[in-house]
């Protein structure tokens, strides 16, 4: 049943019918490798705690994958 629901949602997205928040997350993923990104003060706090930098070394690979699957077109058109 879950797979059916996801298939229906994929179809809905292709018809331009998707909640704005969902498209925003997918777009963020394409642009930054993450669906949610920390704000500046959180990044500063992270550094002060010695937690290590968040990297986006995978950005190029993520974008290549999403170009291959066509999701780049789905999110860039919104």
């Amino acid at each position: 049943m879950g797979e059916v629901m996801f298939a229906l949602r994929n179809l809905a997205v292709r018809k331009g019918n998707a909640p704005a928040g969902v498209i925003a997350q997918a777009k963020s993923l394409y642009e930054t490798t993450r669906v949610i990104n920390p704000i500046r003060s959180t990044l500063d706090k992270r550094e002060s705690l010695g937690l290590g930098k968040l990297d986006n070394e995978g950005l190029e690979e993520v974008q290549k994958i999403l170009k291959k699957t066509g999701m780049d077109k789905l999110v860039q058109s919104k």
């Binding site: 993450r34 949610i36 706090k45 290549k64 994958i65 699957t69």
Partner: protein, 292 residues
């Protein structure tokens, strides 16, 4: 002796909104003999929202993370139930379905990666209960909680989808056993298996609030003193969610919500810092004042 070194998959929400969770994990796990190695270059797990946009993208992005862990030669440990669902589901499906594996590997070949099926995906609860062991966790407790009544919120993906977790024989019992190991009492309550409503955020916020309200009502009726979570979404829904419910329904629950690993940390005799205490929207100072 089990090798307890894992590729640490952090996900997106914790570094963005819940640094206190990450800090507690990094303080507690080494004390239990667990080594966590950050997964450099990892991407979002591609949770249900991305699955809703494009199925193939979800599969390839989740599989890319699995490949990174395979290259590290380590099983993955996740903290977030959404990440756990995405990565566990993909790992299980690709191991079992050669045709699907070929499809995904064809996409991954664009970036020179190949899924081989060499690692496992585990959640914090899996590692604590299964690899570290409940006895060892119990032995690490220096300041037991002496019957504190806790409502444990396992979250959806610790036990669902059933077809995956049935084979792995997972259930609620692990988290309950871990809570009991701290000296607290894990209280049964109605709707324990119910979602927190988190996945409805940004889709239907009103419905998300109604769902979390149902959970909180059940927890209140069970007379718990605190709620403990293992998923950052559940934490936000039930903690920050109480402020939203106050605004929309004019109802007060005043139930402190605490990450399980914070409970463990305090039980092990470590104190939370001021900024970590303030990260809880429902104050925890009253209930845990001697441990902060």
């Amino acid at each position: 002796m089990k090798n307890m070194k894992y590729a640490f998959y952090l996900g997106c929400l914790i570094p963005a909104r819940e640094l206190s969770y990450e800090v507690s994990v990094k303080k507690v796990m080494p004390e239990l003999g667990v080594e966590l190695v950050d997964m450099k270059g990892s991407n979002c797990c591609a949770p249900f929202s991305v699955q809703s946009v494009d199925h193939a993208s979800w599969m390839a992005l989740a599989a890319r993370n699995l490949c990174i862990a395979e290259e590290m030669g380590l099983d993955i440990m996740t903290l977030c139930n959404d990440c756990y669902e995405s990565l566990l589901m993909m790992n299980t499906l690709l191991k079992k379905n050669p045709e699907l594996r070929n499809q995904v590997n064809e996409i991954l070949s664009e970036v020179g990666k190949e899924f081989k099926g060499k690692i496992e995906v585990k959640n914090l609860v899996d590692v604590l209960a299964g690899d570290v062991g409940v006895s060892k966790v119990k032995n690490a407790i220096k300041e037991p909680f002496n019957g504190l009544k806790v409502g444990a919120q396992p979250g959806c993906h610790l036990t669902k989808p059933k077809r995956i977790h049935f084979e792995l024989l997972r259930g609620f019992n692990d988290l309950d056993a871990l809570v009991q190991a701290t000296g607290a009492e894990s209280i049964p309550y109605e709707r324990k298996e119910m979602c927190c409503g988190g996945p409805l955020r940004d889709i239907n916020d009103d419905l998300a609030r109604q769902v979390s309200r149902q959970k909180l009502l059940a927890l209140k009726e069970a007379e718990v003193q605190a709620i403990t979570t293992v998923c950052p979404f559940c934490f936000l829904q039930l903690d920050l969610g109480q402020l939203e419910i106050k605004r929309h329904f004019n109802e007060d629950y005043n139930l402190p919500v605490i990450h399980f690993v914070e409970l463990l940390r305090m039980g092990m005799g470590m104190k939370l810092e001021d900024w970590e205490i303030k990260a809880h929207r429902i104050p925890i100072t009253g209930l845990f004042k001697d441990r902060l």
